[in-house]
């Protein structure tokens, strides 16, 4: 569904993505992991067209992301930190987002109802707490029933009840055969919600396969220790570089 082909991106001198290749298929749920600054959010933003790669191409469906913007109709995106116009009310924000996709008439209001956003629709966005904003972001990502869901740290900042609601929703969408891409540092969430793991390290794909395969390779029976081992391996790889050999 999404194929990332030879994407490279530099921010100034810093090479964030190096000749990046990845395939995302419908029906799978991907956990995108990596230390801070490894290029997770950059990858997501490149797919969404917010960051423009130096070279390479991405296709969503069969459509290249260059030029035509219609491919974004298939994507529901929940940003890491959602900021919205302060003077806009929740209700207005939702009607605006609906207005952006006039041809979609059926809305998925499950999260709106579960988070009781309807009762707050006259509150302006500027007065909302961080958690409520996250709820708004989540509800917006699912609103149009998109085939692809990209969730950047979806559970950060939510209260435990909301986290459970959101996780149940993600699981439900996954069973409906959607493509789900989640970044998070909360490994237990990822283990629950995903079946494939992608580990990025310094702009390169270090691991990309099923979670079973990950456990087998690392020889661990549980997800967290398996990831921990993966991280140790990346560090070893790093320490073997001549630059750091004196350490």
């Amino acid at each position: 569904m999404i194929s990332v082909k030879n994407i490279s991106k530099k921010f100034g001198k810093l090479q964030v993505l190096k000749e990046f290749n990845l395939e995302f298929e419908l029906g799978n749920s991907y956990a995108l992991m990596g230390p801070n600054g490894s290029g997770k959010t950059t990858l997501i933003k490149t797919i969404l067209g917010m960051v423009i790669p130096d070279s390479g191409d991405i296709t969503v469906g069969s459509q290249s992301i260059k030029g035509d913007v219609r491919y974004r109709k298939q994507i529901g995106y929940m940003p890491q930190i959602g900021h919205y116009p302060a003077n806009m009310k929740i209700g207005q924000l939702f009607s605006m987002m609906k207005d952006m996709r006039p041809e979609i008439k059926e809305y998925d209001l499950e999260l709106v109802e579960a988070f009781e956003l309807d009762q707050m629709k006259d509150k302006s966005m500027g007065t909302l707490s961080g958690g409520t904003r996250q709820k708004v972001s989540a509800a917006l990502a699912f609103l149009f029933n998109p085939e692809i869901l990209i969730l950047d740290e979806p559970t950060a900042g939510l209260d435990p009840i909301a986290v459970e609601v959101l996780k149940a929703k993600i699981k439900k969408e996954r069973e409906e055969g959607k493509l789900i891409l989640i970044t998070s540092h909360i490994l237990s969430d990822l283990e629950e919600l995903t079946n494939r793991a992608i580990y990025i390290y310094e702009g390169e794909v270090f691991f990309s396969d099923t979670i079973e395969e990950l456990k087998e390779i690392t020889g661990e029976s549980k997800f967290s220790p398996a990831i921990a081992k993966l991280m140790q391996w990346t560090l070893k790889k790093k320490s073997s570089k001549p630059l750091l050999s004196h350490v």
């Binding site: 933003k45 960051v51 974004r72 930190i81 959602g82 900021h83 207005q92 207005d99």
Partner: protein, 255 residues
């Protein structure tokens, strides 16, 4: 595009700043009208205030607006809408808000106490200068990643065009006082939107006689059809060029 503009405008018009700015302009206009009954004096005083403050406020407001809306711009970029439309909707929203404030703040007192050609030119020049400096501000904003830096650049441009440039022109005129300088000064005026606006205004008043031979030359130039055409053309270029440049950068910018 129009949907985006509608929402951007809605957000900006509801902000407290739009109201404060309009009220401020109205208070300035009302107090000047109270002081004098002579319309040309009113228009001269209003011009002096306007030419200094309107570019400053346009530059600072447009920069802060861009940075305050950065996350909203990011949100829009993840939607199925074109980048150019996102940019233009933000720009037009700022320009429309600044223009409406001028038209309401200065226009209402004019409706009450009367206006002449020079006061109407004043409104037009105010709108044009707002767009020019909003363009500079957007250009500064898309080129930097730091609000403080962008405001710094906007302010530097304002200082340059409002204060420093006149000093440079005076220096040139004094240094080459022995030569005929009408055409040179005219060309120098075209290179500064603020001066261009000011001279377009002054030409509407009778005080150009006070400016000596150059004034007479300007009077002749700006009262001819071709002169007006060139002046308006130069202002149009000043309005479009920074905005166009900012749009080009915005299209390639990373968010």
């Amino acid at each position: 595009m129009f949907k985006l503009l509608k929402y951007a405008l809605y957000d900006i018009l509801k902000s407290r700043f739009a109201i404060i700015y309009t009220v401020f302009l109205a208070l300035v206009a009302i107090s000047i009208y109270q002081v004098s009954d002579d319309l040309s004096k009113v228009s001269l005083s209003l011009m002096n205030i306007m030419i200094l403050f309107i570019p400053l406020i346009a530059a600072v407001f447009a920069t802060t607006h861009f940075y305050n809306n950065l996350e909203f711009i990011e949100l829009m970029l993840a939607q199925p809408v074109k980048r150019i439309h996102v940019f233009l909707s933000q720009l037009f929203a700022v320009v429309i808000m600044l223009s409406l404030s001028i038209l309401l703040g200065f226009g209402l007192p004019m409706l009450l106490w009367g206006a002449d050609g020079s006061l109407l030119t004043l409104l037009a020049v105010g709108v044009v200068l707002s767009s020019v400096f909003a363009g500079f501000a957007f250009l500064a904003s898309v080129l930097t990643r730091d609000k403080a830096k962008a405001i710094g650049i906007s302010l530097a441009l304002w200082i340059y065009f409002s204060l420093v440039y006149d000093g440079l022109v005076l220096y040139v005129i004094y240094s080459f006082a022995d030569y005929p300088l009408e055409k040179t000064t005219l060309a120098l005026v075209m290179l500064n939107p603020v001066d261009l606006g000011r001279i377009l205004m002054l030409m509407q008043l009778d005080i150009s006689a006070l400016m000596g031979y150059t004034g007479a030359f300007f009077q002749q130039f700006f009262s001819s059809g071709l002169g007006i055409l060139i002046a308006v053309g130069a202002l149009l270029i000043w309005m479009l060029f920074p905005n166009f440049l900012a749009m080009r950068v915005f299209k390639k910018r990373d968010f």
